[in-house]
């Protein structure tokens, strides 16, 4: 406990708030890598999940649904640290690209699964009503399926971003900047204060991410859908 209190002194250390190893720069780096990986993940997984969930009938949809679910289970089993190290050891490409690959790879499944499952599980009666009133496929997807599936989709996005923020920390071990640097460099210098400082910053960032999604949920999900989920 004492060690943790002592670590708080680290935040007031010389040069801690400026320069390339300063906290503001490390936070900016961490956010930049995380949001970049998140944007790529969303660009891949969200449209794919919406499409697969929307076309949920017939054999191809069943097969792709099975693949989506298996991919999520497999991704959970993959050790992130090992994947990061292997990619960096094997790759000959530049700095950040090889690290982005595992970040995205591990974040795609939760978005894909939740989007797919959310859209696919929209009651048949709602879809029937939407089509029966003359909505076109795209209107059914965006005016009915998406808003109803939104809580699950947001949950998937949240899981993915948290996963990315956490993996980006670990990626410091293979040379990425960001808050993980304090932990990795602190460990190699036997400097616990730096490690604890980094850990506290990472925890705060993760909790803020969580809070941001809670706010987004409140703002974006229709009260009618929220109420329905609550009464289930």
């Amino acid at each position: 406990m004492n060690a943790l209190w002592n670590a708080l002194g680290w935040f007031g250390g010389a040069g801690r708030w400026s320069g390339s190893d300063g906290i503001p720069n490390r936070i900016a780096e961490h956010l930049w890598y995380s949001l970049l990986a998140f944007a790529i993940t969303v660009a891949i997984a969200l449209p794919l999940g919406l499409l697969l969930g929307h076309l949920r009938r017939g054999r191809p949809a069943a097969v792709s649904g099975f693949l989506v679910l298996s991919s999520a289970n497999a991704a959970r089993a993959l050790p992130t640290l090992g994947l990061l190290i292997l990619v960096v050891v094997v790759s000959t490409a530049g700095d950040i690209v090889p690290i982005l690959v595992p970040l995205v790879l591990l974040a795609v499944p939760p978005v894909l699964v939740n989007t797919y499952a959310g859209v696919q599980q929209v009651e048949a009666g709602l879809r029937d009503a939407a089509e029966g009133m003359g909505m076109r496929g795209r209107q059914v997807l965006f005016q009915v399926e998406l808003p109803v599936a939104l809580p699950l989709i947001l949950l998937g996005l949240r899981t993915a971003l948290i996963q990315i923020v956490s993996t980006a920390t670990i990626a410091a071990y293979v040379g990425l900047g960001g808050l993980g640097r304090y932990i990795v460099d602190g460990y190699s210098r036997q400097d616990y204060d730096s490690m604890a400082g980094g850990a506290i910053l990472v925890i705060v960032l993760a909790v803020l991410t969580q809070a941001a999604f809670a706010a987004l949920h409140r703002f974006a999900v229709s009260p009618g859908v929220r109420r329905r989920a609550a009464s289930d």
Binding site: G132, V148, P223
Partner: protein
């Protein structure tokens, strides 16, 4: 509202035009099941026509072929003189009201916006559409205080009223109703039926109404089409005529038998069967 009531209509005893016709219509699914078998049917304008029969008789399939939720394999369905195959399905459907059993209300939209769905789809002015939706709420007996609420806050009977209001919002000449009152308890059902009849006496829409309940069919129908398993039309006539002179043993059994059986069965069971029928139709369709 369609008001064409020319005298020279084809019916022997009716003075109205046939707004919806089936000519030699068959629905056969990919697995070979025949849901509807060579159906010829002319549905009178401005009246309630009830399609009734046991589960798996093809009554829902027949209804859904009118707005192309199901495509006929053979034969021709016409609405207002036009072959439905020649009309783009979404356009066709926006001109036909549609009410289903569980109301199918959009949980994320307020009651008012649920009712205004089709006017919104048609690109009408939002403010105007909402004002009309509000007027409709009154018409179907909904408390105006519900306008800003969400479907989950309403009872089953209230939701069903919203379903009816939503189908009426764009003032379509035709209304398709697929077991709209089956999911509510008998007392609520009776009051919904009464108000529905009152409303229809003012609106005079052409209504096709599917039910498995012969009592409901007799109470609401101006014409009743009895279907038998295998998708064949067993009899199509006025309620009095049906009760007085059943055309076959099947119809006689259905009129009598269904009453007895219905008391023994749980409504839920019937609903489950109906869902299964729906699901089978759906699976075969896509």
């Amino acid at each position: 509202m369609d008001t064409r009531r020319n005298d020279g209509a084809t019916g022997a005893d009716e003075d109205v035009s046939r707004l919806i016709t089936f000519a030699g219509v068959t629905k056969r699914y990919a697995d070979g099941t025949v849901a509807v078998d060579h159906l010829d049917l002319e549905i009178p304008a401005g009246k309630i026509t009830v399609l009734v029969g046991p589960s798996g008789c093809g009554k829902t399939t027949t209804l859904r072929m009118i707005n192309r939720m199901v495509e006929a394999t053979e034969g021709t369905v016409t609405v207002d003189g036009r072959n439905v195959r020649d009309v783009d399905p979404p356009t066709l459907r926006r001109g036909i009201g549609y009410v289903i059993q569980q109301a199918g209300l959009f949980p994320h939209r307020t009651i008012l916006d649920n009712i205004a769905t089709v006017p919104f789809l048609l690109g009408r002015d939002k403010k105007q559409a909402r004002a009309e939706a509000r007027a409709l709420m009154d018409r179907v007996g909904l408390d105006p205080a519900f306008a800003g609420r969400y479907p989950a806050q309403l009872s089953g009977g209230q939701q069903q009223r919203v379903g009816v209001a939503r189908a009426l919002a764009a003032d379509p000449p035709i209304l398709l109703m697929d077991e709209p009152f089956s999911a509510v308890d008998p007392i609520v059902r009776a009051s919904l039926q009464d108000e529905f009849l009152r409303l229809q006496s003012e609106l005079e829409k052409t209504i096709v109404f599917v039910t498995h309940d012969i009592d409901e069919a007799v109470k609401l129908g101006h014409r009743i089409a009895v279907f038998q398993v295998g998708g064949r039309l067993a009899q199509f006539t006025a309620p009095d005529d049906l009760l007085a002179a059943p055309a076959s043993d099947f119809v006689r059994d259905f009129l009598g038998g269904e009453r007895g059986i219905r008391r023994l069965r749980f409504t839920q069971e019937l609903d489950a069967e109906r869902d299964a029928e729906r699901e089978a139709e759906r699976a075969g369709e896509r």
